[in-house]
């Protein structure tokens, strides 16, 4: 087991000053594509937007795709309930993100970058645009042909899904596409596109600053480096924390709980609810460990104490999904609706407790048959809440 220290390992890379960005940019665009890709691959950085795809491999695939025009997109849609770290990065260290985007442009051969910023963060737009002008000015002086534009979202969670995001930028409904083809080959405007989460780009900056080893040495096997955690709910210290990956949930709760933590929702509404009895065996990181449960996460950690009704929590999530489902495919559109109505029927006594089994099967069907991650992940919170807090669903 990896974590015998009973302590969380705090880190401070992401928000450390960004004053050296010009140096980092100038230095790195002189390095070859291959060298930069190898650096990222050996760091084992995985996407911080939730899915955990290896970033170096993503850039490599896009670099190898043949096209005159390619794009780099920073995903700042940050809509997952309980996640608020990307906004902090863009507010405090925007130049790190822009620098990483430009290095990515250099690696894959893209001249245009976009930041897809959720409509709720409109207040960030003007300061971000200011940073962009200063950034583009500097790019000119070092003869780097790279521009960045902000594209505003309009209040649709699903547009954080990468292909829905492209549709949205193309002026359409934010309905996810079938995959493959993957964005690295055919993304925005059907051109090869690297799309990365804000935080992923900030980590890339760390790696291009200190080298892959420094990053790789943090965290645990399969889950290297640090991660920002958005901590909220029943905790005396809600906020944003950078921690090494691989921690156990027990250690997390010891540090952040209020002494009465009943459960933790890891990964937002589309993640899993972990009840107290499973804290010890649950680690925060990506899949691949042989023992215990590993939960990947976009970094949302919501704590609930014993005063909270898990029925209310599930009801709130299902209302969220039901509103945010794009409605394109039947299992998700109808399923979200039926799960929501279903738990209400059980609670009111209109349906008996066995009906929960039917609902669990429905959520499983949604997992297998939905077109995108939204419909596929409803079962995560649904089954983890219903199975662990069955009585609360009924009485």
């Amino acid at each position: 087991m990896m974590n015998n220290t009973n302590q969380l390992k705090r880190a401070d890379f992401i928000f450390k000053n960004e004053n050296d960005w010009k140096e980092i940019l100038a230095k790195n665009i002189k390095r070859s594509q291959q060298v930069l890709i190898n650096e990222l691959i050996s760091s084992e950085l995985k996407g911080r937007g939730g899915a955990g795809f290896p970033t170096g491999l993503k850039w490599k695939l896009s670099a190898e795709a043949e096209s005159e025009i390619k794009y780099v997109i920073c995903n700042a849609d940050e809509g997952e309930p309980g996640t608020f770290k990307d906004r902090e990065i863009l507010s405090l260290v925007p130049f790190k993100v822009l620098t990483a985007m430009a290095i990515c442009g250099h690696v894959v051969g893209a001249k245009e970058g976009f930041i897809y910023l959720r409509g709720e963060y409109f207040f960030l737009k003007s300061s971000l645009n200011q940073a962009i002008s200063e950034f583009e000015e500097y790019c000119k002086t070092i003869h780097l042909d790279f521009s960045v534009k902000i594209f505003m979202g309009s209040g649709a969670y699903i547009c954080g899904e990468e292909t829905a995001l492209f549709e949205s930028m193309e002026g359409k409904r934010g309905e996810p596409r079938n995959k493959p083809p993957y964005p690295a080959i055919s993304g925005y405007m059907n051109k090869p596109t690297v799309i990365n989460n804000v935080e992923t780009l900030a980590h890339a900056y760390t790696i291009f600053t200190y080298g892959a080893k420094r990053f790789y040495d943090l965290g645990v096997q399969y889950s290297r480096g640090t991660k920002l955690f958005s901590v909220s709910g029943d905790t005396p210290k809600p906020g944003i924390y950078e921690l090494e990956l691989g921690m156990s949930l027990t250690d997390f709760v010891n540090d952040f709980g209020d002494g009465d933590t009943k459960a933790v929702q890891v990964g937002g509404a589309s993640g899993f609810l972990v009840p107290r009895k499973r804290f010890a065996e649950t680690n925060i990181g990506y899949q691949g460990k042989l023992t215990g449960i590993s939960l990947p996460t976009g970094g949302s950690m919501m704590l609930f104490n014993s005063s909270r009704s898990m029925y209310n929590v599930l009801d709130n999530y299902l209302e969220f999904f039901r509103e945010e489902s794009c409605g394109q495919c039947t299992p998700c559109r109808v399923g979200c609706q039926q799960l929501w109505i279903g738990i209400k029927a059980v609670k009111s006594g209109e349906k008996n407790a066995l009906y929960l089994e039917k609902l669990l099967r429905l959520s499983e069907t949604m997992q297998w048959t939905s077109k995108c991650g939204l419909g596929q992940s409803v079962a995560n919170s649904f089954s983890s809440i219903v199975e662990n807090f069955r009585e609360e669903m009924i009485y």
């Binding site: 940050e78 809509g79 997952e80 309930p81 309980g82 996640t83 608020f84 906004r87 959720r118 409509g119 709720e120 963060y121 409109f122 207040f123 594209f151 505003m152 979202g153 309009s154 209040g155 649709a156 969670y157 949205s168 930028m169 193309e170 002026g171 359409k172 409904r173 934010g174 309905e175 405007m189 958005s230 901590v231 909220s232 709910g233 029943d234 809600p238 906020g239 944003i240 929702q265 509404a269 919501m302 909270r308 209310n312 929590v313 709130n316 999530y317 969220f320 509103e323 945010e324 794009c326």
Partner: protein, 162 residues
């Protein structure tokens, strides 16, 4: 030409007439007129040379693109889990009590509309709300009344805050 048609022509000139510019154009119309009327959607379709149903389809997808005339200040109270747990309902009550409108309604003088919305991304400072583009966090009924009074005063002075 009425003002709405002129506005849309200008926006199309400014952003360009390709499909990629549809969302920014829709957003700008909503900002100016506080909603998308059928007429403005038809006008946009003509300007961009796409079918009106395409414009309608896109426009109806996004929760921030309104189809009913909204008030000058749109209040969006976050109703997602942490804000709910930390007193969202008291916040709503305070607003409803002060403005005498229900969720989904607009004050008769057209100053405020009240809506609920999903996670605003400030769960560590719950409960929260958005008024137009400004975020207000760690709300209490008291604080809400203070904030709204500020907007009321602004509205009275006819201050332009766009």
């Amino acid at each position: 030409m009425d003002t709405s048609t002129t506005l849309i022509k200008n926006l199309a000139d400014q952003y360009g007439r390709s499909r990629n510019n549809l969302l920014p154009i829709l957003q700008s119309v909503v900002k100016q007129e506080k909603y998308l009327s059928e007429l403005s959607m038809i006008t946009i379709a003509k300007e961009l040379d796409i079918s009106a149903s395409e414009v309608y389809g896109t426009a109806t997808f996004y929760s921030f693109l309104e189809h009913q005339k909204m008030g000058r200040y749109i209040i969006r109270v976050c109703k997602t889990i942490t804000c709910s747990m930390k007193g969202k309902n008291q916040i709503l009550l305070a607003i409803q009590d002060m403005l005498k409108i229900d969720i989904g309604e607009t004050t008769p003088d057209g100053t405020f509309s009240l809506l609920q919305t999903n996670c605003l991304g400030f769960c560590h400072k719950a409960p929260t709300m958005l008024i137009n583009n400004d975020v207000y966090t760690e709300l209490t009924p008291e604080k809400v009344r203070e904030v709204l009074s500020g907007y009321l005063a602004k509205a009275k002075e006819g201050e332009n805050d766009e």
